[in-house]
């Protein structure tokens, strides 16, 4: 897989406007992992972790995978814990795993191969929000974000 992924990933990155790829150290940001997002899981809903509540409004860095774009017009992408194509949740009728993060980039970028790990830095925002253009509902977002291969 490695060689194929690199080929596909490089094409996507080279296709993006210059300046979109930041190194992970470009902004001072605390790291937060997918395991840190929710403090409690229950069938009646998830509860944000103390860490998310503490970091809300601040820049954070997350590693994950860019899901295939929802539509050509979407100005955001979905960051997932696992590559979407190898996520068992996603192969069933369930559309998304519950612990996704929506990323709004500072500037547009072309989609990457979904199997490439990336590192995203952006301002963490917590709470239900509906994207006005697509109607996509998210609980956690990274705003004004940039990403690099991670």
């Amino acid at each position: 897989m490695a060689s194929n992924v690199h080929r596909c990933g490089r094409r996507a990155i080279l296709g993006a406007p210059a300046g979109l790829i930041f190194s992970s150290g470009a902004r001072a940001a605390e790291r937060i992992g997918f395991d840190d997002l929710y403090g409690a899981w229950s069938v009646t809903g998830l509860r944000f972790s103390d860490k998310v509540q503490r970091l809300a409004g601040q820049d954070v860095t997350m590693r994950g995978f860019m899901a295939p774009p929802l539509s050509a017009e979407a100005i955001f992408f979905v960051l997932t814990r696992e590559p979407l194509s190898i996520c068992p949740f996603c192969s069933s009728d369930a559309e998304w795993p519950p612990d996704i993060v929506v990323v709004y980039l500072r500037r547009r970028a072309l989609p990457l191969d979904p199997s490439m790990r990336i590192e995203v830095t952006g301002r963490l925002e917590a709470g239900s929000w509906t994207d006005p253009e697509t109607g996509f509902v998210s609980q956690l977002r990274l705003r004004n974000a940039s990403f690099a291969r991670g």
């Binding site: 009646t44 069933s92 009728d93 519950p98």
Partner: protein, 578 residues
Amino acid sequence: MRRHHLATLAVMAVLAAPAVQAQTIFPVDRAEILAGSRFDLKVEFPGLVAADRVAVTVNGRPVAGVFGRAPDFIERENDQPASSIVLRDASLATPGVYNLRATDGEHTASVTWEVYAGGQRQARNVILFVGDGMTVANVTAARILSRGISEGRYNGRLVIDGFPVMATVGTSGVDSIATDSANSAAAYNTGHKSGVNALNVYPSRARDTLAHPRVETLAQIVQRTRGMSVGVVTNTEIQDATPAAVFAHTRRRSDYLPITDQMLASGVDVLMGGGSASLLPQGTPGSRRRDQRNMLDAFRQQGYVFAEDAGSLAEAAAQTGTRRLLGLFNLSNMDGPLDRFYLRRGTVERFPNQPDLTEQVRAALQVLERNPGGFYLMVESGLIDKDNHPLDWERSVYNTIMLDNAVRVARDWAADRNDTMIVVVPDHTHGMAIIGTVDDNRPGRDMRERVGTYAEAGFPNYPPADARGYPPSVDVSRRLAVFYAAYPDYCETFRPSLDGQRVPAVRQGENYVANEDLCRQAGSLRREGNMPRSVNQGVHAVDDGILRAWGPGSERFHGFVDNTYVFRGMAEALGLGQ
């Protein structure tokens, strides 16, 4: 030359026109309809027709006279230049052969239906167990792992092995020889054949997925005509195709939110499974809804007791006042026994107290038996299929053992009653086969060299099953060699997937390629897929399924039956045509 060719095609098109232009009638030709059950009659004309030129007759009589009211005429369906007539909730009370003819003045089409009634009621209750995607190899492997085998004899039998009645079941639908779980479960629940992705509707040209011609379900019939209770138990999301087929009507099985709303409206008494995400208001993390409706509250307001884990389920079921029970034990699909009891993978750490299917069935029976009028209970072991798809045979076999354990609970409950028919059936099969063993101690660097066939296969060395009926480990040195007939590009590891459900292929652009994580395992075998590259997993087989049945009324199943006959057998055992 080219022009001549086009001209020829045009002539052929004109000549072919009458055949292509015939109107489409639902229910389709050769439909078998339970006397008194309801169905939507629809005739789709290929173009615009004048209402006064349309004539529809049943056995020569005008349709309005036969059904007691005139159908609606829709001049432009979907705002397109094509007319239809629709009669919702039609029914025919008298058994017999019915010929429906529809004409627009120029073209005539006809279908013939059989309306059947059956005899007197034989069973107070019917329990339908669906092993989703359960293949003969699933059952054989379940027997080997759960009961053991030595010198050619099994050291015990499964519960379903003791069922006295068997039949083979054809699973094809109106649109294709290959079915999906929606289409197939719809046949079990209505007795009508349908199409892939359709739940209890005929796949028509309606644009709205909720507007297709509906057929009444067994659940609706027993509620409406007998005052019986209905239960649905699964370990998939409760909105998934098989459970939804008990209570929902839609052309598109992925309509999870409308299906959830229909579930509330259905009045089904006992509902258990995963899939709470579709019931939580949009603002709640984990929700999949697009509105602020809290469906858990809506169910509570209609008298449902809510249970969210094994403990609260047992407690709710034990309360004698509980008549309606909603148990949701995971946001998405529940976890299977291999992960819950032994490997602790999947979502087990997040939802550590999910009940076993046996506990769900016990609780369902406890609540449903409070209705002296009887009940219809559908129980699905749905992860058999969800594990067969990614070629994860160990997980699918553990889910098969769990199905057998759950059948034991029902059979033991019913054993002294002589009033309950139990049917165990897959909804379709997979191309799964056991061909021998894989022995780590055989020579050879490549794992394929360690596959033993015929005399070299010997017997596997799984540890004896524990009290639950499962070997506590699948990671043994001589294990079953199991392969699937349909597969994407993937790497065969010849080993169980201990870190979580197997992921054979990953997406690359528009296609799926082998998951290199598996290819890196020592001795793995790279296999080029035998299906289109857009396919990421195994697919359903068209092979017959095996039905097993027990209890009063079960004797009617034998030989080969269509999947629609499963409905007919249950309906006749309950005397619903009388």
